[in-house]
Structures are given as C-alpha cells and as structure tokens.
C-alpha cells in the first residue's frame, strides 16, 4: 500500500510497539548476558533486600510481557501496511535506552537495589552501564524526530 502519511492512530501503535519491544529486548539482554552467561547477577542476591526482590519480579514479568505485546502490535501495523522503519527503529532504541538508563541510575544508584557487579570498584561498571544507555536513548530520539519531521513513504 502506497501511503505517504500513516494515520496518527497507526503511528501511535507502531511507536508503542517499538517502545515495548525495546524495553523487552533490553530486559532480555540484561538477564541473558549478566545472569546466565557472566553470572554477575544471581537468582537471589543476599545483598538486595525486599525492595530488590519486588523490583526484580516486576521487571522480569514486565519486560517479557512488553516484548510479546510489542510483537503483536508490530504484526498488526504490518498487516495494515503502516510500517515506518525510522519511526519503529527509533522507538525500539528509545525503549532500550530508557530501560538501561533507568536501571543504571534509579535502580542501581538512587534506590541502590542491586549493582552491576559485587565486590569490586563500581565506577567503571556504572559508566559502562549508563553511557551505552544514554547513547541508545539519544540515537532513538534522533530517529524519532527525523521520522516526525519527514514522514517516510510506506512500502
């Protein structure tokens, strides 16, 4: 379907799809890389209290649910012929970056729920956690602004 301007509701659905999939992917990468491969994070860290348990459970359930919902909304947007690559990728990067920055700043530093790694000096790890998040977020927002300024022709 050739349509230069996807209608606002369809755009919003595509935006939500990208944000949810970005959140879900960042959450999955966090669990797979740091829990399963590196074993820096554990099923239960004695260091984290009750609030840490609650935030872990919410994040785990929330991220995988977001990923499933994001895929369904993406499938619907494609069925409507309303897929705008710049908009969707911008939303994915924004979602992933927002998750990473939120996790690094609010969970790790502000609430001190748990840390990137235990028993070592954290400065380097925190920078390594938050800076990529900021970069992802900036790239995502830039793509979103571009998609907004210049609606891409839909194929």
């Amino acid at each position: 379907m050739a349509d230069a301007h996807a209608r606002p509701p369809a755009r919003r659905r595509l935006l939500v799809s990208g944000l949810l999939l970005g959140l879900g992917t960042a959450g999955a990468v966090d669990e797979i890389v740091f829990h399963q491969l590196l074993h820096w994070h554990h099923f239960y860290d004695r260091a984290s209290g009750a609030a840490g348990l609650v935030s872990d459970g919410l994040l785990h359930a929330g991220t995988f649910s977001a990923a499933v919902a994001g895929m369904a909304l993406l499938a619907d947007a494609r069925r409507r012929g309303r897929f705008v690559p710049a908009l969707w990728w911008g939303a994915v990067l924004t979602g992933a970056g927002a998750f990473q920055v939120w996790d690094g700043l609010v969970h790790h530093k502000l609430l001190r729920l748990h840390q990137v790694r235990y028993g070592v000096d954290l400065t380097g790890y925190d920078v390594g956690w938050i800076v990529p998040g900021v970069l992802l977020l900036a790239a995502g927002v830039a793509l979103l602004l571009r998609a907004r300024a210049r609606p891409v022709a839909v194929t």
Binding site: D3, A6, R7, F43, Y44, L53, V54, D56, G57, L58, H60, A61, G62, F64, S65, V68, A69, M71, A72, A75, D76, R79, R80
Partner: protein
C-alpha cells in the same frame, strides 16, 4: 481424599464427553482433547507431586501442573460454550442469566480474578499454611480445589475464550496477566530466600516455580495476543481504508 479428588476429575471428564454428544453443533475434537489433558494434568498433580509437602522441588512440579498447566488447558476447552450448546434451552438460559449476575461478573474480571489467585498463593506459602497442611488430607484437598479453581478463573478472565458479558480490553487483560506473573516471580524469590519451616529442596523448587511460571505466562500472553490479532474487531480495523 485423593480418591475423592480423582473421582471428581473423572466425573468432569465423563460429563464433558457426554455434553459433546448432546451438543447442537459439531464440537471441535481439539477442545475435548484440551479438557481431558487438563484434567489429566490435575490428576497427576493430585496423585503424586502435590502431596510432597516436605520436598518443595517435587511439590512445585505439582503446583505448576495443578495451578497453571491444568487451568490453561481447561480454559482452552471453552467449557461454558459447550454447556450453553449442550443444555436444553431453559437450562442454557438459566446458565446465561447466572453468568450475568454481579458475583459471576466479578469473578470473571481479570482485575479481581488475577489478584485473588495471587493472594491465595501468598497465603499458602507466605503464612504457615503450607506447613500446616501436612497430615491434614481434608484441608489439603480444599487447598488443591482452590488452586485449580482460582487458577482457572484467572486464566479464563485473561484469555476470555468463553463468552463474557463485559470483557475488558486486551491491554487491561495483558497488564493483569503481567501483574499476576510479577507476584508469582516475587513469591518464588521469597521462597528461595525464606523457605517454609520443615521443607527441603526450597532452592530448586523456587527456581522451578520461577522458570515454569515464566514459560506458562509467556504461552498465555502469546495466546492472548494471537486471539486479539485474529479477533473480528482487530481484523475489521486493519481492513478499513485510510
């Protein structure tokens, strides 16, 4: 008490098969298979692992079968739809009226059924109830029935396979499902950190509860969104010209 519980499950299977004969339209074989498999999952849990109170690892296998696998399969069998089609017209009208009463509407609302299901689990493992069940067969059977029924209501309210008078939008049902999963995850980690008194295998049991809960919630979420994707409203909205 186990014999009584298995008897109830057998009766439910026989009732379903009898209803498919009386059904006014051909009843899909897959739904009958889902119903019988769901009852079988509950039967396996009741006859075996769910009785292991002290071994939390075996117990959790039973808990997952009885509280998550069996309810999901039973919901997919659409038993209310079958009952409405198999009952004589007067009975079907009475059942439809019953489903519209306020208590039935509350119990099939995901914002009520999912928290009720989670609260039951927290009551069972968070208080001394789990430990108190050992050697009390009547109370144990009651808890099993609660686990199966509240699991069924929660899953049914989220998936809405059967007709529901006031169905919540898909996003509300998805959020309710995720909230229930979060409560399940947190409880699993709490059990890992603070196992109930007098149990062994708490660490393996808690991990099984966490991972099994994740897999079954993922399957349920996929089914929920798949049903939305092929639903009449979504297909019609997608076909509408810009």
């Amino acid at each position: 008490m186990t014999a009584a519980a298995l008897g109830v499950l057998l009766a439910a299977g026989a009732g379903h098969v009898a209803a498919t004969w009386r059904c006014r339209s051909p009843w899909p074989l897959a739904r009958t298979a889902a119903w019988l498999l769901g009852l079988a999952a509950a039967g396996v849990a009741v006859a075996g692992p769910a009785r292991a109170h002290h071994d939390l690892h075996a117990h959790m296998a039973g808990h997952l079968l009885l509280g998550m696998v069996a309810p999901l399969l039973l919901v997919l069998a659409a038993p209310v739809t079958l009952a409405l089609r198999a009952l004589p017209p007067r009975g079907a009208r009475r059942l439809a009226r019953l489903l519209r009463t306020p208590p039935a509407r509350w119990l099939t609302d995901p914002l009520v059924a999912v928290p009720l299901n989670a609260a039951g689990l927290w009551l069972l493992y968070g208080t001394g109830l789990h430990t108190a069940l050992a050697g009390r067969p009547a109370l144990t059977t009651l808890v099993w029935a609660h686990l199966l029924v509240s699991g069924y209501l929660a899953t049914a309210s989220v998936l809405a396979v059967d007709p529901a008078p006031h169905r919540r939008p898909v996003a509300v049902r998805a959020v309710a499902l995720a909230g229930g999963a979060a409560a399940h995850d947190v409880l699993a980690k709490v059990l890992y950190a603070h196992p109930p008194a007098g149990t062994v295998g708490a660490e393996a049991g808690a991990r099984l509860m966490y991972d099994g809960g994740t897999v079954l919630t993922l399957v349920t979420a996929a089914l929920l969104w798949r049903r939305w994707y092929v639903s009449r409203d979504a297909v019609r909205a997608a076909a509408r010209p810009a």
